[in-house]
Protein backbone atom coordinates (compact mmCIF):
# COMPACT_ATOMS: atom_id res chain seq x y z
CA UNK A 1 0.00 0.00 0.00
CA UNK A 2 1.26 3.43 -0.78
CA UNK A 3 1.08 6.01 1.88
CA UNK A 4 0.40 9.33 0.40
CA UNK A 5 3.49 11.27 1.35
CA UNK A 6 5.19 11.16 -2.02
CA UNK A 7 4.79 14.90 -2.32
CA UNK A 8 7.63 15.33 0.15
CA UNK A 9 10.34 13.82 -1.97
CA UNK A 10 13.78 13.01 -0.64
CA UNK A 11 16.47 12.72 -3.25
CA UNK A 12 18.08 9.36 -3.91
CA UNK A 13 21.61 10.05 -2.59
CA UNK A 14 20.41 11.74 0.59
CA UNK A 15 18.04 8.86 1.31
CA UNK A 16 20.92 6.44 0.87
CA UNK A 17 23.02 8.53 3.15
CA UNK A 18 20.28 8.61 5.78
CA UNK A 19 19.90 4.86 5.58
CA UNK A 20 23.50 3.89 6.14
CA UNK A 21 24.83 6.78 8.20
CA UNK A 22 22.64 5.56 11.08
CA UNK A 23 24.31 2.17 10.99
CA UNK A 24 27.12 1.99 13.60
CA UNK A 25 28.78 -0.87 11.71
CA UNK A 26 29.19 1.42 8.73
CA UNK A 27 31.12 3.88 10.87
CA UNK A 28 33.28 1.13 12.37
CA UNK A 29 34.14 -0.16 8.90
CA UNK A 30 34.81 3.33 7.58
CA UNK A 31 37.09 4.15 10.52
CA UNK A 32 39.06 0.93 10.17
CA UNK A 33 39.49 1.38 6.45
CA UNK A 34 40.49 5.01 6.86
CA UNK A 35 43.24 3.96 9.28
CA UNK A 36 44.51 1.25 6.95
CA UNK A 37 44.51 3.58 3.95
CA UNK A 38 46.29 6.27 5.97
CA UNK A 39 48.92 3.77 7.05
CA UNK A 40 49.48 2.69 3.44
CA UNK A 41 49.70 6.24 2.14
CA UNK A 42 51.94 7.47 4.94
CA UNK A 43 54.14 4.34 4.98
CA UNK A 44 57.49 6.12 4.44
CA UNK A 45 56.70 8.51 7.29
CA UNK A 46 55.47 6.08 9.91
CA UNK A 47 57.47 2.92 9.22
CA UNK A 48 60.16 2.75 11.92
CA UNK A 49 62.61 0.82 9.69
CA UNK A 50 63.40 0.16 6.04
CA UNK A 51 61.24 -2.85 5.14
CA UNK A 52 63.97 -4.33 2.95
CA UNK A 53 66.95 -3.71 5.23
CA UNK A 54 68.35 -7.03 6.44
CA UNK A 55 69.98 -7.29 9.84
CA UNK A 56 71.62 -10.68 10.34
CA UNK A 57 72.33 -9.95 13.99
CA UNK A 58 68.69 -9.33 14.82
CA UNK A 59 67.15 -12.44 13.16
CA UNK A 60 63.83 -13.71 14.50
CA UNK A 61 63.73 -11.21 17.35
CA UNK A 62 60.46 -11.42 19.29
CA UNK A 63 58.38 -8.23 19.67
CA UNK A 64 60.31 -5.64 21.66
CA UNK A 65 60.45 -1.89 22.11
CA UNK A 66 62.66 -1.50 19.05
CA UNK A 67 60.87 -4.04 16.87
CA UNK A 68 57.24 -3.75 17.97
CA UNK A 69 56.13 -6.77 15.94
CA UNK A 70 59.51 -8.53 16.02
CA UNK A 71 61.82 -9.33 13.08
CA UNK A 72 61.84 -12.04 10.42
CA UNK A 73 64.35 -14.64 9.24
CA UNK A 74 66.52 -11.95 7.62
CA UNK A 75 66.25 -9.56 10.53
CA UNK A 76 63.79 -7.26 8.74
CA UNK A 77 61.32 -5.31 10.87
CA UNK A 78 57.90 -7.01 10.64
CA UNK A 79 55.95 -3.83 11.49
CA UNK A 80 57.61 -1.86 8.70
CA UNK A 81 57.08 -4.68 6.23
CA UNK A 82 53.45 -4.85 7.31
CA UNK A 83 53.03 -1.11 6.76
CA UNK A 84 54.56 -1.28 3.29
CA UNK A 85 52.65 -4.47 2.59
CA UNK A 86 49.40 -2.54 3.09
CA UNK A 87 50.31 -0.53 -0.01
CA UNK A 88 50.59 -3.64 -2.16
CA UNK A 89 47.47 -5.27 -0.78
CA UNK A 90 45.31 -2.18 -1.16
CA UNK A 91 46.74 -1.32 -4.55
CA UNK A 92 46.28 -4.82 -5.90
CA UNK A 93 42.74 -4.92 -4.52
CA UNK A 94 41.83 -1.48 -5.80
CA UNK A 95 43.33 -1.70 -9.28
CA UNK A 96 42.09 -5.23 -9.86
CA UNK A 97 38.57 -4.26 -8.81
CA UNK A 98 38.65 -1.16 -10.98
CA UNK A 99 39.61 -3.25 -14.01
CA UNK A 100 37.07 -5.95 -13.18
CA UNK A 101 34.35 -3.33 -12.64
CA UNK A 102 35.00 -1.63 -15.98
CA UNK A 103 35.08 -4.83 -17.99
CA UNK A 104 32.38 -6.60 -15.98
CA UNK A 105 29.93 -3.69 -16.16
CA UNK A 106 30.42 -3.30 -19.88
CA UNK A 107 29.82 -7.00 -20.46
CA UNK A 108 26.81 -7.06 -18.13
CA UNK A 109 25.15 -3.98 -19.61
CA UNK A 110 25.71 -4.99 -23.23
CA UNK A 111 24.52 -8.56 -22.60
CA UNK A 112 21.47 -7.35 -20.68
CA UNK A 113 20.56 -4.64 -23.17
CA UNK A 114 21.10 -6.61 -26.37
CA UNK A 115 19.60 -9.79 -24.90
CA UNK A 116 18.84 -12.86 -26.97
CA UNK A 117 21.56 -15.22 -28.07
CA UNK A 118 24.43 -12.90 -27.11
CA UNK A 119 23.06 -12.65 -23.59
CA UNK A 120 22.70 -16.41 -23.24
CA UNK A 121 26.18 -16.98 -24.59
CA UNK A 122 27.84 -14.41 -22.34
CA UNK A 123 25.98 -15.55 -19.28
CA UNK A 124 26.91 -19.15 -20.03
CA UNK A 125 30.61 -18.29 -20.11
CA UNK A 126 30.28 -16.22 -16.94
CA UNK A 127 28.48 -19.08 -15.19
CA UNK A 128 31.40 -21.35 -16.01
CA UNK A 129 33.79 -18.74 -14.61
CA UNK A 130 31.67 -18.34 -11.50
CA UNK A 131 31.60 -22.07 -10.89
CA UNK A 132 35.36 -22.06 -10.27
CA UNK A 133 36.43 -20.84 -6.86
CA UNK A 134 38.08 -17.42 -7.26
CA UNK A 135 41.32 -18.76 -5.84
CA UNK A 136 41.49 -21.69 -8.23
CA UNK A 137 40.79 -19.47 -11.20
CA UNK A 138 43.35 -16.93 -10.02
CA UNK A 139 45.81 -19.75 -9.51
CA UNK A 140 45.39 -20.99 -13.05
CA UNK A 141 45.72 -17.56 -14.59
CA UNK A 142 48.64 -16.51 -12.40
CA UNK A 143 50.43 -19.78 -13.14
CA UNK A 144 49.90 -19.22 -16.83
CA UNK A 145 51.09 -15.61 -16.78
CA UNK A 146 53.96 -16.00 -14.29
CA UNK A 147 54.55 -14.29 -10.97
CA UNK A 148 54.69 -10.51 -11.07
CA UNK A 149 52.70 -7.66 -9.59
CA UNK A 150 51.11 -6.86 -12.92
CA UNK A 151 50.12 -10.46 -13.62
CA UNK A 152 48.76 -10.79 -10.11
CA UNK A 153 46.47 -7.84 -10.71
CA UNK A 154 45.35 -9.23 -14.07
CA UNK A 155 44.65 -12.65 -12.56
CA UNK A 156 42.59 -11.20 -9.73
CA UNK A 157 40.75 -8.84 -12.07
CA UNK A 158 39.71 -11.72 -14.32
CA UNK A 159 38.36 -13.71 -11.39
CA UNK A 160 36.14 -10.77 -10.38
CA UNK A 161 34.69 -9.93 -13.82
CA UNK A 162 31.85 -12.43 -13.67
CA UNK A 163 30.23 -11.17 -10.45
CA UNK A 164 30.38 -7.58 -11.71
CA UNK A 165 28.79 -8.58 -15.00
CA UNK A 166 25.97 -10.31 -13.13
CA UNK A 167 25.33 -7.35 -10.88
CA UNK A 168 25.23 -4.97 -13.85
CA UNK A 169 23.10 -7.23 -16.04
CA UNK A 170 20.09 -7.68 -13.75
CA UNK A 171 19.25 -3.96 -13.35
CA UNK A 172 19.98 -3.42 -17.07
CA UNK A 173 17.22 -5.84 -17.97
CA UNK A 174 14.85 -4.01 -15.63
CA UNK A 175 15.94 -0.57 -16.83
CA UNK A 176 15.62 -1.32 -20.53
CA UNK A 177 11.88 -1.83 -20.02
CA UNK A 178 11.51 1.49 -18.22
CA UNK A 179 9.63 4.10 -20.16
CA UNK A 180 12.50 6.56 -20.16
CA UNK A 181 14.70 4.08 -22.01
CA UNK A 182 11.92 3.32 -24.48
CA UNK A 183 11.41 7.07 -24.86
CA UNK A 184 15.10 7.35 -25.71
CA UNK A 185 14.67 4.79 -28.48
CA UNK A 186 11.60 6.62 -29.74
CA UNK A 187 13.70 9.79 -29.85
CA UNK A 188 16.21 8.03 -32.07
CA UNK A 189 19.05 7.64 -29.56
CA UNK A 190 21.61 4.99 -30.47
CA UNK A 191 22.28 1.96 -28.27
CA UNK A 192 25.65 3.27 -27.05
CA UNK A 193 24.07 6.50 -25.84
CA UNK A 194 21.20 4.65 -24.18
CA UNK A 195 23.52 2.24 -22.39
CA UNK A 196 26.03 4.89 -21.37
CA UNK A 197 23.79 7.83 -20.54
CA UNK A 198 20.52 6.24 -19.48
CA UNK A 199 21.34 2.83 -18.08
CA UNK A 200 24.85 2.98 -16.58
CA UNK A 201 24.25 5.98 -14.26
CA UNK A 202 21.17 4.26 -12.85
CA UNK A 203 22.99 1.11 -11.79
CA UNK A 204 26.46 2.40 -10.98
CA UNK A 205 25.70 2.98 -7.30
CA UNK A 206 24.74 -0.69 -6.87
CA UNK A 207 27.96 -1.73 -8.54
CA UNK A 208 30.19 0.59 -6.54
CA UNK A 209 28.64 -0.61 -3.32
CA UNK A 210 29.17 -4.24 -4.23
CA UNK A 211 32.77 -3.49 -5.20
CA UNK A 212 33.77 -2.93 -1.57
CA UNK A 213 32.71 -6.50 -0.81
CA UNK A 214 34.65 -7.84 -3.77
CA UNK A 215 37.68 -5.79 -2.93
CA UNK A 216 37.82 -7.76 0.29
CA UNK A 217 37.72 -10.95 -1.72
CA UNK A 218 40.42 -9.59 -4.07
CA UNK A 219 42.67 -8.89 -1.10
CA UNK A 220 42.11 -12.40 0.18
CA UNK A 221 42.94 -13.83 -3.23
CA UNK A 222 46.08 -11.69 -3.40
CA UNK A 223 47.21 -13.01 -0.01
CA UNK A 224 46.46 -16.59 -0.99
CA UNK A 225 48.30 -16.36 -4.29
CA UNK A 226 51.26 -14.71 -2.59
CA UNK A 227 51.14 -17.41 0.03
CA UNK A 228 51.61 -20.12 -2.54
CA UNK A 229 54.33 -18.08 -4.22
CA UNK A 230 52.34 -16.93 -7.25
CA UNK A 231 52.16 -13.35 -6.09
CA UNK A 232 54.61 -10.48 -6.06
CA UNK A 233 58.13 -11.89 -6.09
CA UNK A 234 60.38 -11.26 -3.04
CA UNK A 235 61.76 -9.16 -1.50
CA UNK A 236 58.74 -6.81 -1.95
CA UNK A 237 56.71 -7.16 1.24
CA UNK A 238 53.12 -8.34 0.80
CA UNK A 239 50.92 -9.70 3.52
CA UNK A 240 50.45 -13.03 1.80
CA UNK A 241 54.16 -13.65 1.24
CA UNK A 242 54.88 -12.58 4.83
CA UNK A 243 52.50 -15.23 6.13
CA UNK A 244 54.14 -17.86 3.95
CA UNK A 245 57.62 -16.93 5.17
CA UNK A 246 56.36 -16.89 8.74
CA UNK A 247 54.74 -20.28 8.30
CA UNK A 248 58.13 -22.02 8.20
CA UNK A 249 58.93 -20.72 11.68
CA UNK A 250 55.42 -20.71 13.10
CA UNK A 251 56.46 -22.73 16.17
CA UNK A 252 59.43 -20.60 17.29
CA UNK A 253 58.40 -17.19 15.83
CA UNK A 254 54.59 -16.88 16.02
CA UNK A 255 54.71 -13.12 15.30
CA UNK A 256 55.81 -13.66 11.72
CA UNK A 257 52.50 -15.17 10.61
CA UNK A 258 50.11 -13.76 13.18
CA UNK A 259 50.53 -10.03 12.53
CA UNK A 260 50.08 -10.14 8.73
CA UNK A 261 47.11 -12.46 9.24
CA UNK A 262 45.57 -9.92 11.60
CA UNK A 263 46.21 -7.15 9.07
CA UNK A 264 44.34 -9.12 6.38
CA UNK A 265 41.56 -9.94 8.79
CA UNK A 266 41.07 -6.29 9.76
CA UNK A 267 41.12 -5.05 6.18
CA UNK A 268 38.67 -7.66 4.98
CA UNK A 269 36.48 -6.99 8.01
CA UNK A 270 36.51 -3.23 7.35
CA UNK A 271 35.54 -3.69 3.70
CA UNK A 272 32.84 -6.20 4.55
CA UNK A 273 31.32 -3.98 7.24
CA UNK A 274 31.28 -1.08 4.81
CA UNK A 275 29.94 -3.15 1.95
CA UNK A 276 27.19 -4.73 4.06
CA UNK A 277 26.06 -1.36 5.36
CA UNK A 278 25.99 0.11 1.87
CA UNK A 279 24.23 -2.91 0.45
CA UNK A 280 21.55 -2.77 3.13
CA UNK A 281 21.10 0.88 2.33
CA UNK A 282 20.52 0.35 -1.39
CA UNK A 283 18.50 -2.84 -1.08
CA UNK A 284 14.90 -1.65 -1.27
CA UNK A 285 13.69 -4.82 0.44
CA UNK A 286 15.71 -3.98 3.52
CA UNK A 287 15.13 -0.26 3.35
CA UNK A 288 11.49 -0.73 4.34
CA UNK A 289 9.88 2.37 5.70
Amino acid sequence: MTIEVASVAVSQPSRLWLAFSKNPLFWLGALLLAIIVAVAVLAPLIAPHDPLEQNIVARLEPPSAEFLFGTDNYGRDVLSRLIYGARISLMVGFVAILIAMTIGCTIGIVAGYVGGVLDQLVMGVLDVMLSFPALLLGLMIAAMLGASLQNLIIAIAITEIAPFARVARAPTIALKQQDFVIAGRALGFGPVRIMGVHILPNLISDVVVMSSLWMASAIRTEASLSFIGLGVPPPTPTWGSMIREGFDNILDAWWLAVFPSLAILLTVLALNLLGDALRDAIDPKLRGE
Binding site: M1, T2, I3, E4, V5, S7, V8, V10, E289
Partner: protein, 331 residues
Protein backbone atom coordinates in the same frame (compact mmCIF):
# COMPACT_ATOMS: atom_id res chain seq x y z
CA UNK B 1 -37.41 7.14 11.52
CA UNK B 2 -38.32 7.08 15.17
CA UNK B 3 -35.48 5.19 16.84
CA UNK B 4 -32.12 6.18 15.49
CA UNK B 5 -30.08 3.00 14.91
CA UNK B 6 -26.64 2.74 16.43
CA UNK B 7 -23.89 3.15 13.79
CA UNK B 8 -21.94 0.06 12.81
CA UNK B 9 -18.76 2.08 12.93
CA UNK B 10 -18.39 5.56 14.30
CA UNK B 11 -15.34 7.73 13.71
CA UNK B 12 -15.05 10.70 16.03
CA UNK B 13 -12.40 13.33 15.42
CA UNK B 14 -9.97 10.74 14.09
CA UNK B 15 -6.56 12.27 13.58
CA UNK B 16 -3.65 10.36 12.04
CA UNK B 17 -0.22 11.84 11.61
CA UNK B 18 2.83 10.94 9.54
CA UNK B 19 6.41 11.74 10.35
CA UNK B 20 8.41 13.46 7.64
CA UNK B 21 11.96 14.39 8.54
CA UNK B 22 11.31 14.22 12.28
CA UNK B 23 8.17 16.32 12.22
CA UNK B 24 4.62 15.09 12.49
CA UNK B 25 2.02 16.17 9.97
CA UNK B 26 -1.67 15.23 10.00
CA UNK B 27 -2.76 13.04 7.08
CA UNK B 28 -6.25 12.58 8.50
CA UNK B 29 -7.56 15.65 10.27
CA UNK B 30 -10.36 15.21 12.76
CA UNK B 31 -12.53 13.01 10.63
CA UNK B 32 -15.97 12.32 12.09
CA UNK B 33 -18.36 10.09 10.21
CA UNK B 34 -20.73 7.24 11.01
CA UNK B 35 -21.21 4.12 8.99
CA UNK B 36 -24.78 2.94 9.51
CA UNK B 37 -25.85 -0.73 9.51
CA UNK B 38 -26.25 -2.12 5.98
CA UNK B 39 -25.00 1.11 4.55
CA UNK B 40 -22.41 1.66 1.83
CA UNK B 41 -20.50 4.80 2.60
CA UNK B 42 -18.13 5.88 -0.15
CA UNK B 43 -15.09 7.92 0.76
CA UNK B 44 -13.92 9.69 -2.35
CA UNK B 45 -10.89 11.87 -2.92
CA UNK B 46 -7.77 12.28 -4.99
CA UNK B 47 -4.40 10.92 -4.02
CA UNK B 48 -3.13 12.63 -0.90
CA UNK B 49 -6.65 13.21 0.41
CA UNK B 50 -6.16 10.81 3.32
CA UNK B 51 -8.95 8.42 2.31
CA UNK B 52 -6.81 5.27 2.45
CA UNK B 53 -5.10 6.37 5.62
CA UNK B 54 -8.52 6.70 7.22
CA UNK B 55 -9.32 3.06 6.44
CA UNK B 56 -5.91 1.87 7.60
CA UNK B 57 -6.30 3.86 10.81
CA UNK B 58 -9.59 2.12 11.60
CA UNK B 59 -7.86 -1.27 11.61
CA UNK B 60 -4.62 0.21 12.97
CA UNK B 61 -2.68 -1.15 10.01
CA UNK B 62 -0.39 1.86 9.65
CA UNK B 63 3.37 1.34 9.72
CA UNK B 64 4.62 1.60 13.29
CA UNK B 65 7.59 3.82 12.68
CA UNK B 66 6.31 6.67 10.55
CA UNK B 67 2.66 6.99 11.56
CA UNK B 68 0.54 7.45 14.66
CA UNK B 69 -3.08 7.95 15.58
CA UNK B 70 -2.89 11.20 17.45
CA UNK B 71 -6.45 11.54 18.64
CA UNK B 72 -10.08 10.69 18.28
CA UNK B 73 -12.11 7.53 18.63
CA UNK B 74 -13.10 4.67 16.38
CA UNK B 75 -16.20 3.22 18.01
CA UNK B 76 -17.21 -0.29 17.02
CA UNK B 77 -19.83 -2.19 18.99
CA UNK B 78 -19.25 -0.04 22.04
CA UNK B 79 -15.45 -0.36 21.98
CA UNK B 80 -12.95 2.30 21.03
CA UNK B 81 -10.58 0.54 18.63
CA UNK B 82 -7.90 3.18 19.16
CA UNK B 83 -7.38 2.14 22.77
CA UNK B 84 -7.42 -1.64 22.25
CA UNK B 85 -4.29 -3.70 22.76
CA UNK B 86 -2.61 -5.16 19.70
CA UNK B 87 -3.94 -8.60 20.75
CA UNK B 88 -7.52 -7.44 21.04
CA UNK B 89 -7.13 -5.64 17.74
CA UNK B 90 -6.03 -8.82 15.94
CA UNK B 91 -9.19 -10.56 17.01
CA UNK B 92 -11.21 -7.74 15.45
CA UNK B 93 -9.26 -7.67 12.19
CA UNK B 94 -10.56 -10.09 9.63
CA UNK B 95 -13.18 -11.19 12.10
CA UNK B 96 -15.71 -8.46 12.77
CA UNK B 97 -14.06 -5.95 10.48
CA UNK B 98 -12.48 -7.19 7.25
CA UNK B 99 -10.57 -5.27 4.63
CA UNK B 100 -9.86 -5.75 0.93
CA UNK B 101 -7.19 -3.88 -0.96
CA UNK B 102 -6.48 -2.51 -4.41
CA UNK B 103 -3.77 -5.00 -5.29
CA UNK B 104 -4.95 -8.50 -4.48
CA UNK B 105 -1.70 -10.10 -5.59
CA UNK B 106 0.38 -8.66 -2.78
CA UNK B 107 -2.24 -9.64 -0.21
CA UNK B 108 -2.10 -13.32 -1.12
CA UNK B 109 0.70 -15.70 -0.23
CA UNK B 110 2.19 -16.90 -3.54
CA UNK B 111 3.44 -20.19 -2.08
CA UNK B 112 0.11 -21.40 -0.67
CA UNK B 113 -2.87 -22.70 -2.60
CA UNK B 114 -5.90 -20.46 -2.60
CA UNK B 115 -7.98 -23.09 -0.79
CA UNK B 116 -5.41 -23.44 1.98
CA UNK B 117 -5.27 -19.69 2.46
CA UNK B 118 -9.00 -19.31 2.82
CA UNK B 119 -9.12 -22.36 5.11
CA UNK B 120 -6.31 -20.89 7.19
CA UNK B 121 -8.26 -17.66 7.66
CA UNK B 122 -11.29 -19.65 8.77
CA UNK B 123 -9.29 -21.81 11.19
CA UNK B 124 -7.57 -18.84 12.80
CA UNK B 125 -10.74 -16.91 13.44
CA UNK B 126 -13.41 -19.56 13.82
CA UNK B 127 -11.56 -22.73 14.75
CA UNK B 128 -13.02 -26.12 13.80
CA UNK B 129 -11.46 -28.91 11.82
CA UNK B 130 -9.38 -28.63 8.69
CA UNK B 131 -12.03 -30.58 6.75
CA UNK B 132 -14.78 -28.17 7.77
CA UNK B 133 -12.59 -25.21 6.90
CA UNK B 134 -11.88 -26.65 3.44
CA UNK B 135 -15.57 -27.25 2.86
CA UNK B 136 -16.32 -23.69 3.94
CA UNK B 137 -13.60 -22.39 1.61
CA UNK B 138 -15.26 -24.19 -1.28
CA UNK B 139 -18.63 -22.71 -0.34
CA UNK B 140 -17.09 -19.23 -0.26
CA UNK B 141 -15.48 -19.62 -3.69
CA UNK B 142 -18.89 -20.68 -5.00
CA UNK B 143 -20.45 -17.70 -3.31
CA UNK B 144 -18.10 -15.25 -5.04
CA UNK B 145 -18.87 -17.04 -8.32
CA UNK B 146 -15.49 -18.43 -9.20
CA UNK B 147 -16.00 -20.88 -12.06
CA UNK B 148 -15.18 -24.55 -11.31
CA UNK B 149 -14.36 -23.70 -7.68
CA UNK B 150 -13.52 -27.26 -6.73
CA UNK B 151 -10.46 -27.49 -8.96
CA UNK B 152 -9.45 -23.90 -8.35
CA UNK B 153 -9.15 -24.52 -4.59
CA UNK B 154 -5.88 -26.31 -5.26
CA UNK B 155 -4.43 -23.64 -7.51
CA UNK B 156 -1.96 -20.92 -6.59
CA UNK B 157 -2.65 -17.17 -6.71
CA UNK B 158 -0.56 -16.62 -9.86
CA UNK B 159 -2.90 -18.95 -11.74
CA UNK B 160 -5.77 -16.51 -11.11
CA UNK B 161 -6.53 -13.39 -13.12
CA UNK B 162 -6.70 -10.00 -11.38
CA UNK B 163 -10.47 -10.11 -11.12
CA UNK B 164 -10.44 -13.67 -9.79
CA UNK B 165 -7.81 -12.79 -7.19
CA UNK B 166 -9.94 -9.94 -5.96
CA UNK B 167 -12.83 -12.39 -5.62
CA UNK B 168 -10.60 -14.68 -3.60
CA UNK B 169 -9.78 -11.74 -1.35
CA UNK B 170 -13.47 -11.01 -0.99
CA UNK B 171 -14.10 -14.67 -0.16
CA UNK B 172 -11.43 -14.52 2.53
CA UNK B 173 -12.88 -11.30 3.89
CA UNK B 174 -16.30 -12.93 4.11
CA UNK B 175 -14.98 -16.07 5.80
CA UNK B 176 -15.81 -14.78 9.28
CA UNK B 177 -19.03 -12.96 8.50
CA UNK B 178 -17.66 -9.49 9.25
CA UNK B 179 -20.02 -6.74 10.39
CA UNK B 180 -18.03 -4.14 8.49
CA UNK B 181 -16.11 -4.44 5.23
CA UNK B 182 -13.45 -1.84 4.46
CA UNK B 183 -12.86 -1.81 0.70
CA UNK B 184 -9.82 0.25 -0.31
CA UNK B 185 -10.00 0.90 -4.06
CA UNK B 186 -10.92 -2.76 -4.64
CA UNK B 187 -11.70 -2.31 -8.33
CA UNK B 188 -9.15 0.30 -9.33
CA UNK B 189 -6.69 -2.22 -10.76
CA UNK B 190 -9.41 -4.09 -12.67
CA UNK B 191 -10.77 -3.64 -16.16
CA UNK B 192 -14.16 -1.98 -16.42
CA UNK B 193 -16.11 -5.12 -17.30
CA UNK B 194 -14.52 -6.94 -14.37
CA UNK B 195 -15.03 -3.90 -12.17
CA UNK B 196 -18.74 -3.99 -12.94
CA UNK B 197 -18.87 -7.68 -11.98
CA UNK B 198 -17.02 -7.15 -8.71
CA UNK B 199 -19.08 -4.10 -7.78
CA UNK B 200 -22.38 -5.86 -8.33
CA UNK B 201 -21.07 -8.83 -6.41
CA UNK B 202 -20.01 -6.68 -3.46
CA UNK B 203 -23.46 -5.16 -3.41
CA UNK B 204 -25.14 -8.58 -3.41
CA UNK B 205 -22.86 -9.93 -0.70
CA UNK B 206 -23.39 -6.86 1.41
CA UNK B 207 -27.12 -7.55 1.36
CA UNK B 208 -26.71 -11.27 1.92
CA UNK B 209 -24.36 -10.89 4.85
CA UNK B 210 -25.97 -7.79 6.34
CA UNK B 211 -22.67 -5.94 6.31
CA UNK B 212 -21.85 -2.28 6.26
CA UNK B 213 -19.29 -1.21 3.73
CA UNK B 214 -16.81 1.62 3.76
CA UNK B 215 -15.85 1.96 0.09
CA UNK B 216 -12.77 4.01 -0.69
CA UNK B 217 -12.28 5.19 -4.24
CA UNK B 218 -11.09 8.05 -6.38
CA UNK B 219 -13.66 7.30 -9.07
CA UNK B 220 -16.86 9.34 -8.94
CA UNK B 221 -18.47 7.00 -11.45
CA UNK B 222 -18.00 4.07 -9.10
CA UNK B 223 -19.33 6.17 -6.22
CA UNK B 224 -22.50 6.95 -8.15
CA UNK B 225 -23.02 3.25 -8.85
CA UNK B 226 -22.47 1.78 -5.41
CA UNK B 227 -22.80 4.30 -2.59
CA UNK B 228 -25.68 5.17 -0.31
CA UNK B 229 -23.86 8.11 1.20
CA UNK B 230 -20.65 9.83 0.18
CA UNK B 231 -17.90 11.59 2.10
CA UNK B 232 -15.66 13.75 -0.09
CA UNK B 233 -12.19 14.15 1.35
CA UNK B 234 -9.63 16.82 0.57
CA UNK B 235 -6.25 17.32 2.25
CA UNK B 236 -7.08 14.96 5.11
CA UNK B 237 -10.55 16.14 6.01
CA UNK B 238 -14.13 15.62 4.95
CA UNK B 239 -15.29 18.62 2.98
CA UNK B 240 -18.74 17.33 2.07
CA UNK B 241 -20.97 14.55 3.33
CA UNK B 242 -24.31 13.74 1.72
CA UNK B 243 -26.51 11.03 0.27
CA UNK B 244 -25.34 9.94 -3.15
CA UNK B 245 -28.35 11.49 -4.88
CA UNK B 246 -27.92 14.83 -3.16
CA UNK B 247 -24.21 14.95 -3.78
CA UNK B 248 -24.46 14.43 -7.52
CA UNK B 249 -27.62 16.47 -7.97
CA UNK B 250 -26.57 19.39 -5.82
CA UNK B 251 -22.88 19.43 -4.88
CA UNK B 252 -22.35 22.11 -2.23
CA UNK B 253 -18.61 22.27 -1.82
CA UNK B 254 -16.71 24.00 -4.63
CA UNK B 255 -14.24 21.10 -4.68
CA UNK B 256 -16.95 18.48 -5.20
CA UNK B 257 -18.50 20.54 -7.94
CA UNK B 258 -15.11 21.09 -9.57
CA UNK B 259 -14.33 17.36 -9.48
CA UNK B 260 -17.57 16.60 -11.28
CA UNK B 261 -16.82 19.20 -13.93
CA UNK B 262 -13.27 17.93 -14.41
CA UNK B 263 -14.39 14.39 -15.14
CA UNK B 264 -14.84 13.44 -18.79
CA UNK B 265 -17.94 11.32 -19.27
CA UNK B 266 -18.47 8.41 -21.59
CA UNK B 267 -22.24 8.84 -21.75
CA UNK B 268 -22.37 12.38 -22.97
CA UNK B 269 -20.18 14.99 -24.52
CA UNK B 270 -18.11 17.13 -22.22
CA UNK B 271 -17.22 20.10 -24.36
CA UNK B 272 -15.96 22.16 -21.48
CA UNK B 273 -13.78 20.08 -19.29
CA UNK B 274 -12.77 22.36 -16.46
CA UNK B 275 -9.52 21.41 -14.80
CA UNK B 276 -8.92 22.40 -11.20
CA UNK B 277 -5.92 24.71 -11.18
CA UNK B 278 -2.95 23.84 -8.98
CA UNK B 279 -2.56 20.60 -7.11
CA UNK B 280 -3.39 18.91 -3.83
CA UNK B 281 -1.23 20.46 -1.09
CA UNK B 282 1.63 18.42 0.30
CA UNK B 283 1.15 16.95 3.73
CA UNK B 284 3.69 19.39 5.09
CA UNK B 285 2.19 22.44 3.41
CA UNK B 286 -1.55 22.40 4.08
CA UNK B 287 -2.84 26.00 4.10
CA UNK B 288 -3.92 27.46 7.43
CA UNK B 289 -7.41 28.54 6.45
CA UNK B 290 -9.59 26.48 4.13
CA UNK B 291 -7.25 23.93 2.60
CA UNK B 292 -8.98 24.24 -0.78
CA UNK B 293 -8.92 28.05 -0.81
CA UNK B 294 -5.79 28.45 -3.00
CA UNK B 295 -7.53 26.55 -5.82
CA UNK B 296 -11.04 27.85 -5.24
CA UNK B 297 -12.71 30.33 -7.61
CA UNK B 298 -15.21 31.38 -4.92
CA UNK B 299 -12.70 32.14 -2.20
CA UNK B 300 -13.04 35.25 -0.11
CA UNK B 301 -10.51 36.95 2.12
CA UNK B 302 -11.62 35.07 5.21
CA UNK B 303 -11.12 31.70 3.51
CA UNK B 304 -7.37 32.13 3.64
CA UNK B 305 -7.26 32.64 7.42
CA UNK B 306 -10.33 30.99 8.88
CA UNK B 307 -10.53 27.22 8.89
CA UNK B 308 -14.15 26.33 8.09
CA UNK B 309 -16.11 23.71 10.05
CA UNK B 310 -18.16 20.88 8.60
CA UNK B 311 -21.70 22.18 9.12
CA UNK B 312 -25.20 21.49 7.88
CA UNK B 313 -25.87 22.93 4.47
CA UNK B 314 -29.50 23.48 5.29
CA UNK B 315 -30.61 20.26 3.59
CA UNK B 316 -31.05 17.44 6.13
CA UNK B 317 -28.08 15.13 6.30
CA UNK B 318 -26.02 17.22 3.90
CA UNK B 319 -22.89 18.61 5.55
CA UNK B 320 -20.40 20.90 3.92
CA UNK B 321 -17.16 22.56 4.96
CA UNK B 322 -17.53 25.88 3.17
CA UNK B 323 -19.12 29.09 4.44
CA UNK B 324 -19.23 30.96 1.13
CA UNK B 325 -20.71 28.32 -1.15
CA UNK B 326 -23.27 29.74 -3.56
CA UNK B 327 -26.80 29.12 -2.30
CA UNK B 328 -28.53 26.18 -3.96
CA UNK B 329 -25.38 24.30 -4.85
CA UNK B 330 -22.50 25.02 -7.13
CA UNK B 331 -23.35 24.47 -10.76
Amino acid sequence: MTSFPRPALDLRNLRTEFRIRDRWYPAVRNVSVSLMPNETLAVVGESGSGKSVTALSILRLLPHAGARIQGGEVLFEGQDLVTLSEREMSSIRGNSIAMIFQEPMTSLNPTMTVGDQIAEAILIHRGGSRMQAKAEALRLLEEVKIPSPKSRLDEYPHQFSGGMRQRVMIAMALACHPRVLLADEPTTALDVTIQAQVLSQLEELKQAYGMSMLFITHNLGVVAQIADRVAVMYAGEIVELATVDALFAKPMHPYTAALLRAMPRADRGTENLEPIPGSVPALSAVPAGCSYAPRCPFKERTCLDLHPELVSSGDPGHLVRCPVRPVGGVH
